[in-house]
């Protein structure tokens, strides 16, 4: 449940930045940091796709997996928990790299990127807890 809520929040953050990047949203609300400097840097694109759009895909996948895990059919599924943790770990690494770029290369911090990084860190921790709970439950059985 925790992961589903965090993923949904992350999805909207990533969607907000993506809509800005493609021009649907004109100005970013950014009370802390220099969001536009980060979002208009060359690092805001990855493999020809806005970084935020990768975030949308990752959060959507994690939201889907976490909701699936709440269904009876997959409740307690080890495979699902591992998949979620793997996705969260990959996203966390990607997010850490982006934070490094912000701090040491672009020299500007984007408030929304920091929020996203915190969300993904929380999702990763929740994923670790979920895996340990599922392992314990299945080993008890």
């Amino acid at each position: 449940m925790t992961i589903a809520v965090l993923s949904l929040l992350g999805l909207f953050v990533a969607l907000y930045l993506t809509l800005y990047k493609v021009g649907v949203i004109g100005e970013l609300t950014c009370s802390i940091g220099s969001c536009e400097k980060v979002q208009t840097s060359k690092w805001a694109m990855f493999s020809g796709v806005p970084v935020a759009a990768w975030g949308v895909a990752a959060y959507a996948a994690m939201l889907t997996l976490s909701i699936a895990g709440l269904r009876e059919r997959w409740e307690g599924s080890r495979a699902l928990s591992y998949a979620l943790l793997a996705l969260a770990a990959a996203s966390l690494l990607f997010s850490a790299w982006l934070t490094y770029l912000e701090l040491f290369v672009i020299d500007a911090i984007c408030m929304w990127c920091v929020i996203s990084a915190l969300l993904i860190a929380c999702i990763f921790v929740a994923g670790v807890v979920d895996v340990s709970v599922v392992r314990r439950q299945t080993s008890e059985v």
């Binding site: 929040l9 909207f12 969607l15 004109g26 208009t40 060359k42 709440l70």
Partner: protein, 253 residues
């Protein structure tokens, strides 16, 4: 029985998740609708005076021929000229010392909503001596910032400024203040005074070309204007010992 209870237990959670999703969609829709409130340049109605005109110039001051270009950064024909023909013009006419090239803004803001912003971006790059680099980036990247692509071209322009290595903060202050608006509109007024109606329009010597030019055409007209300029600069000949009036060169550009 247990499954049914568990299912019922999760119903409030899914309802809360759904409510959160709706709130998120509403917030994004609100943000997207705010874009039309973004400040728009208030310059469209302003008129310049030719006295404020100050073109961006390439080439030697004593070059025999002057080429003036009146262009709109958002005009596709101007972009085509800038990307295909102009590199040759710079290399083979300007760098070769045959001509001096002056760029005048001629923003057609009635049909191109981001054009004045682009002129503004270029003028602010000129403040740091990087007009021509910004000029090239604007024309090369025109589909990324034109009125069809975005309501907020500034973020693209700022990326260009950053890539050019100019002081982005200074550039941004200049851009936001529309510091060189009088110059931009003055350049347009200069074009108006010459009868420019569309873009790109070129003036080579004293001839006006309203329909664009290929490199070969431009080079030929530069040569022609150079001949005219030499003739005009040549010392007056002694009166001809004939009864007929001296023949004068037609047109003289």
């Amino acid at each position: 029985m247990v499954k049914a209870r568990r299912k019922a237990d999760r119903r409030p959670f899914f309802m809360a998740l759904g409510a959160l999703a709706l709130a998120g969609v509403a917030a994004l829709a609100y943000q997207a609708s705010k874009k039309s409130d973004a400040p728009k340049p208030s310059i469209v109605q302003q008129r310049g005076t030719p006295a404020n005109a100050k073109p961006y110039v390439l080439g030697k001051p004593d070059a025999p021929v002057q080429i003036m270009e009146f262009a709109d950064f958002e005009c596709p024909g101007c972009a085509q000229f800038a990307t295909i023909t102009e590199p040759d013009v710079r290399q083979r006419l300007v760098d070769a010392g045959k001509a001096r090239y002056s760029y005048y803004d001629f923003p057609l803001s009635e049909i191109h909503r981001n054009t004045i912003s682009a002129s503004n971006a270029a003028a602010c790059a000129d403040e740091q001596g990087r007009f021509w680099e910004m000029h090239d980036k604007l024309f090369n990247g025109q589909p990324n910032w034109n009125g069809a692509a975005t309501d907020n071209p500034k973020r693209v322009f700022r990326t260009y400024a950053s890539e050019l290595g100019i002081k982005v903060d200074q550039w941004e202050q200049c851009y936001d203040a529309q510091k060189y608006l009088a110059r931009i509109m003055g350049n347009k007024a200069r074009g108006d005074s010459l009868g420019v109606g569309g873009t790109p329009t070129f003036v080579i010597g004293k001839r006006v070309f309203k329909n664009g030019l290929t490199f070969d055409q431009m080079a030929a007209w530069v040569d022609s204007a150079a001949v005219d300029a030499r003739a005009a600069a040549a010392p007056a000949r002694p009166p001809a010992k004939t009864d007929s009036a001296p023949k004068r060169k037609p047109g003289g550009a």
